[in-house]
Amino acid sequence: MTNLEKYRNAFVEGLGVSEDQVDGLTFQAVPEWDSVGHMGLIAALEEAFDIIFDTDDIVDFSSFDKGKDILKKYDVVIE
């Protein structure tokens, strides 16, 4: 599985959204991405990429696109 596939899958599994909702998704744009969904997403990403987010990055992780930038700090490149 590529990093992009893992990344997209984390959104699908962590938030409980469908594959076609993922691109460009932002926090609170769908009911599933509330604060509880957010923690589920973070947990799914941490498991997928074997990382632990800093609290600052959890705060700043506000969209599908922003998340890619944040993951670069953890040496995870999403392409």
Partner: protein, 221 residues
């Protein structure tokens, strides 16, 4: 029917809790009211005739603290600790966090002055407060009070807007559950607006179950 009048510097409010709308007296024009009665489909019409307006429907929530199936520790990603002389920060957060909450907005029109006085009183009365800290800054608080002999109750909680998405609220509530367990409480209760689906989902993630819808009414003006 339980009824009490609370005096504030610039107004008084009559708080009434009753078993049905039939018990509620006609509204008096010289008072503010906040009335709670169990949900019933006839409540709204009955109360309108008595001079009240529907303000909110709240739901009780209970977390069984004997449940060990949820890993609450893993849900805590922020520093949560007992409050220590941080009343100003807590009040600042409280005053900006409840723009429509029927516990504080007791008129059918937006009246932030009245709401602020009630919020101040609520915060003054908190005695079991925990704060959420991020980079030395208080970003949220949660107050946990005893409730009966064996249970506890989330009296008030709020998080600065920027941190709501980030899991600060989840961290605080998960910490509250752990604290309540450590203190030997059997259940943790809360009462939330049925419109607050974010908190409903939060409680659900903690294993909360929902019950006892109550309708809230204020005096029509």
């Amino acid at each position: 029917m339980n009824s009490k009048i609370i005096e504030y510097p610039s107004f008084s409010i009559c708080l009434i809790e009753a078993a049905s709308a039939d018990e509620i007296p006609e509204a008096s024009a010289d008072k503010l009211y906040r009335i709670e009665i169990p949900y019933h489909r006839d409540n709204i019409n009955t109360m309108i005739k008595k001079g009240y307006l529907f303000a909110d429907r709240t739901i009780g929530v209970t977390v069984n603290l004997r449940n060990d199936s949820i890993e609450y520790k893993k849900m805590i990603r922020f520093d949560i600790r007992p409050a220590c002389a941080e009343e100003d920060d807590i009040l600042r957060i409280a005053l900006t966090s409840f723009p429509f909450d029927s516990r504080f907005h007791v008129r059918p029109v937006q009246d932030d002055n009245i709401a602020s006085e009630i919020i101040c009183s609520w915060v003054d009365n908190m005695s079991g407060t925990y704060v959420c800290v991020h980079k030395g800054q208080i970003v949220g608080f949660l107050d946990l009070e005893p409730y009966g002999d064996r249970d506890c109750f989330v009296w008030l909680a709020a998080v600065k807007e920027r941190y709501r998405a980030a899991g600060a609220a989840v961290s605080m509530y998960a910490k509250a559950v752990l604290v309540a367990k450590e203190k030997g409480y059997e259940k943790l209760h809360g009462r939330i607006s049925s419109g607050n689906t974010a908190v409903m989902n939060l409680y659900a993630s903690l294993g909360g179950t929902f019950s006892e819808p109550w309708d809230v009414f204020v005096r029509n003006e």
